[in-house]
Symmetry: C2
Subunit: 220 residues, 2 copies
Amino acid sequence: MHKFKIAVIRVVTLNDKEKLNQHGRLIERYFPNLQTTSYCIANQYNGVHDDASHTLAELKIEKIVEDIKHKYQGIVVSCAGDPCVDKLKNKIDIPIIGAGHSSASFCFNYGLKIGIIGIRDDAPCSIKNILRNNIIKFIKPQGVKNTNDLYTKEGQLAIINAAKELKHLGAEVILLACTGMSTVGITSILAKQIKLPIIDPVFAEAFTINTLCLQKTYFN
Amino acid sequence: MHKFKIAVIRVVTLNDKEKLNQHGRLIERYFPNLQTTSYCIANQYNGVHDDASHTLAELKIEKIVEDIKHKYQGIVVSCAGDPCVDKLKNKIDIPIIGAGHSSASFCFNYGLKIGIIGIRDDAPCSIKNILRNNIIKFIKPQGVKNTNDLYTKEGQLAIINAAKELKHLGAEVILLACTGMSTVGITSILAKQIKLPIIDPVFAEAFTINTLCLQKTYFN
């Protein structure tokens, strides 16, 4: 089997190798023809959480991509905010994608009424620019302030309640706008309980980078 | 390798088995884990070319799907107009997708300025509903009136000129809104000449049905 070599960039500083590789391992499980190597930005232990940290992260991502791009067939910026992705798209010759673009665009295969669950006060711009008026509602689950809260029973219950509300409002598909939700495995739980398609951001970036690499192989 | 069994429905009457299987063969080449069986609607040798033929085709597609759905893990309606797809989505338990939805949604992974080339007077509604104001321009190449014209030198030159015009207007990606363009293999020619990502409708329906089947496997 031909394997595409993919760099996965985490937008939070992770010294624990297990944690660093978490998204990469999921990507490889979903698409065994992808072989990942994970990187992370330095000195940002709280990741990207406001405009200043977003800008700071972008500079670091750009530098990482510059240094490593020659070694890979594709790059995943594993964050629903897609930091630096649009800028880099025009600067490098290999496909690059973030979780936001890839999750948002795939929603349309299920319908035009899209519900979003995230941990910030609003959906990332990259997602809003694609979905615009098709967003039924964005919900930040009650009591969920950061990715740590996703691991608690209360946090997961709040996500389930948010998904129920979105379904009640007419959502045909629910987008999880935080890659941390992929890590905790909430997607299957939601799909089973809510009986709606749930877009998992790490799965979305996985099939999208795979497709972008295949598109280049077949048509360039 | 686990193979998903996929039904491919052609929206034109094709008695020649080679021609009937043409899209299915492409789908299997792009994704060797998809195993296709092709069907076509009866007594519509000119396919879908206006509102009356579209409605007539929808009734026939619905009947085919009703008869065969229990044998497959997914269904592709191989047409950029997505006839009957939205209606059937809510009626059956397996993923169903058309070339229009799948091509249009994937464009967003390349950018927000999208050019479209088709052989009708306008883009199909299913594509316009997804892309809306992101459509830079729809072009029907000069002298191309039906799929037969796609095989002539003049037809292919007209498509190349249309793509050049779309690039000049700022398109970041070009969507081919007719599955006949996949059959003639114009996608690679355009990608090489225009140096823009070109969305091939049969490739798009292939990776989308694959992703929808995988999504169901992993998260349901």
